[in-house]
């Protein structure tokens, strides 16, 4: 129990440097358990990986230092990497912003509903992320024979005359993968937006209505979005990590390697070297390049997001 005498004493001591350190000590104490583990299981492995990117390492022999060789090979000799890079950028430029908007849009619409029905709606839209059998659904839809649902519908409507091998035809692979990825997009960002909408101060809406906000769209732009900026930032980072690291759906639906590398992405290329060819040095170099790409994009996106609601 603090008496008033104690309080004034504390106020005096607060100005001194010694107190500052003591106060921060409790901060460091709270940080310690997480960050000790973080250094051991994340920072250290990342540093080792970056180190390995300058070596030849086949996971059997000791890594052998090769300098910039992996990076030079990556950009000057590896044509497939350039295809993969082009696909990944195309993928990220389209699915990144669209997925992000979809997450926000659906979270916002679901927020208009209430009670158990709302939890149910959230589940329905989160289903592709929680069920883990997305590939099963889409391989039925995109099946190359006439029994595939997409082929069936298009044949019935007379749009096509014979079935299309969706996942074996070069020009369809990337667009179809983009569609599947968009369908899968309501994941981490979506749920964090749902939670973020809960924390918007309700009285702000009343104040905004008095200030002349007329419809839900204005309310969204002037009240809701600025109030949930931290969640928007979080969603953007998650979106970047997902859009650039896309690989699973490509491997499951189009195979790795896919026809003429039409579905190759940076991460499928990385997996090819890391888990099939056991060239960890080269795979680490790919990971490092991908990392720098994401960091750059993140800088750019954060700049844009700061202007929301202005």
């Amino acid at each position: 129990m603090a008496t008033s005498e104690n309080l004034s004493e504390i106020a005096k001591r607060q100005k001194k440097l010694g107190y500052q350190i003591k106060k921060n000590r409790s901060c460091y104490l709270m940080l310690a358990p997480y960050f000790i583990l973080f250094f051991v299981f994340t920072v250290l492995p990342v540093l080792i990986s970056v180190g390995l990117s300058f070596t030849y390492f086949n996971m059997l022999e000791m890594p052998r230092f090769t300098g910039w060789a992996n990076y030079i090979r990556l950009f000057l000799e590896d044509d497939i990497f350039l295809i993969a890079l082009k696909n990944t950028l195309l993928f990220a430029v389209i699915t990144g912003p669209v997925s992000y908007m979809l997450c926000l849009l659906f979270a916002w619409i679901i927020n208009e509903f209430s009670g158990k029905f709302r939890a149910f709606l959230t589940l329905i839209f989160y289903a592709p992320s929680i069920c883990g059998n997305a590939y099963m659904v889409w391989s039925l839809i995109l099946s190359g024979d006439r029994y595939g649902y997409l082929n069936g519908i298009l044949l019935k409507l007379g749009i096509i005359n014979e079935q299309i091998l969706w996942m074996q035809t070069e020009k369809y692979i990337l667009p179809m993968l983009i569609v599947v990825q968009l369908w899968l997009s309501l994941g981490t960002g979506f749920l964090s937006f749902i939670a973020g909408l809960q924390t918007v101060d309700k009285s702000l809406y009343e104040a905004a209505a008095l200030d002349g906000v007329k419809n839900r769209w204005q309310e969204l732009w002037y009240v809701t979005l600025p109030s949930m900026k931290p969640q928007l930032m979080f969603g953007a980072v998650m979106q970047i990590t997902q859009s650039f690291a896309v690989a699973d759906i490509s491997i499951q639906l189009a195979g790795n390697p896919s026809i003429n590398y039409a579905g190759a992405t940076v991460v499928t290329h990385l997996l090819d070297y890391g888990s099939t060819r056991f060239d960890m040095g080269y795979a680490s170099a790919i990971a490092t390049v991908l990392f720098l790409l994401m960091v750059g994009t993140n800088k750019l996106v954060q700049k844009v997001l700061r202007r929301v609601g202005e």
């Binding site: 997480y34 369908w183 981490t188 795979a283």
Partner: protein, 290 residues
């Protein structure tokens, strides 16, 4: 006009037009059908008798529903070399501690990062955000080496300790805590509360939607982990591993594996619904803003 009742009846929302409501409802219904496909398929497959499972072309909906697949599954489970209850216990330990520990540690570290100023703060936080952008595939090998050095291989700790420090959780919690008004903590501080008490009694209850959401993400991750990389002893393996072994049984076990797919999806869904309906409840009970 059924739609109106679905909207919050007591606190009538401002700035809402009837036409807009109807439009949104129709949009949700159309999209919802597509998004619900995976759940619909899993439930229907689990109820299909064998001849329908092998039917070509495959149909989505079941015609003669049966629980045969589940009774098949129980037969297979009883045959397992390690009692099935052991797998369940392992999963409870791994998923339970992995989720609970992460939510607590990540929140504990997020609080000073969100609400205090101290040397090194930006550096630490920046590292966490950037770490999420480094490909997990590549760091797997160094992580494996570290786990071996620490001698926690073939131990639950090999799955639990790395799970406690995932970057996403800290980032999510920090973003939500940042929104809390400082005055909330200031008054408690004047009452002589320690930083830990402020964290536990004031900050955490006010960011309930955040940690419930984080629990969903973490549970999903831990539940999906087969542990096959680190756990060698059969007695240590989680349920997910045992269930996936059944799925690998080929055509002879197609029925049982349809039931397995159902269970693998159903458990995180139940957890999701429990957490998610609480996320919504907090909205009506908390009036935290000053």
């Amino acid at each position: 006009m059924k739609t109106i009742r679905l909207f919050k009846p007591k606190q009538k929302k401002l700035n809402r037009s009837m036409a807009g409501n109807t439009l949104l409802f129709i949009l949700m219904a159309i999209c919802g059908v597509f998004m619900a496909l995976p759940i619909v398929m899993i439930v229907n497959n689990a109820l299909k008798p064998l001849d329908e499972l092998f039917q070509f072309p495959p149909k989505i909906f079941v015609r003669n529903p049966t629980f045969e697949n589940f009774s098949d599954l129980f037969v297979v489970m009883n045959d397992s070399w390690v009692p099935f209850s052991r797998y369940i216990l392992n999963t409870v330990i791994i998923t339970g501690f992995g989720t609970l520990g992460h939510v607590i540690l990540a929140s504990l570290a997020a609080y000073p990062l969100a609400k205090h100023n101290f040397p090194g703060k930006n550096l630490l936080f920046g590292m966490v955000v950037l770490s999420m952008m480094f490909s997990w595939t590549v760091t797997q090998i160094p992580t494996y080496m570290i786990v071996s050095w620490l001698h926690i291989n073939n131990n639950f700790l090999a799955l639990i300790l790395p799970a406690w420090q995932f970057g996403m959780g800290l980032y999510l919690m920090k973003q939500f805590m940042e929104q809390l008004p400082d005055s909330l903590m200031e008054s408690a501080r004047l009452d002589g509360a320690t930083e830990f008490q402020i964290f536990w009694k004031i900050v955490m209850p006010n960011v309930k939607p955040a940690w419930l959401t984080l629990a969903i993400f973490q549970f999903q991750q831990m539940w999906a982990n087969t542990g096959s990389m680190y756990l060698r002893d059969e007695q240590l393996k989680p349920m997910q591993f045992a269930l996936q072994q059944i799925t690998g049984g080929g055509t002879a076990r197609a029925g049982a594996s349809a039931a397995v797919t159902f269970i693998i999806a159903a458990i995180p869904i139940i957890f999701f619904l429990v957490c998610q309906s609480n996320v919504i409840e907090t909205m009506t009970t908390s009036g935290m803003k000053d």
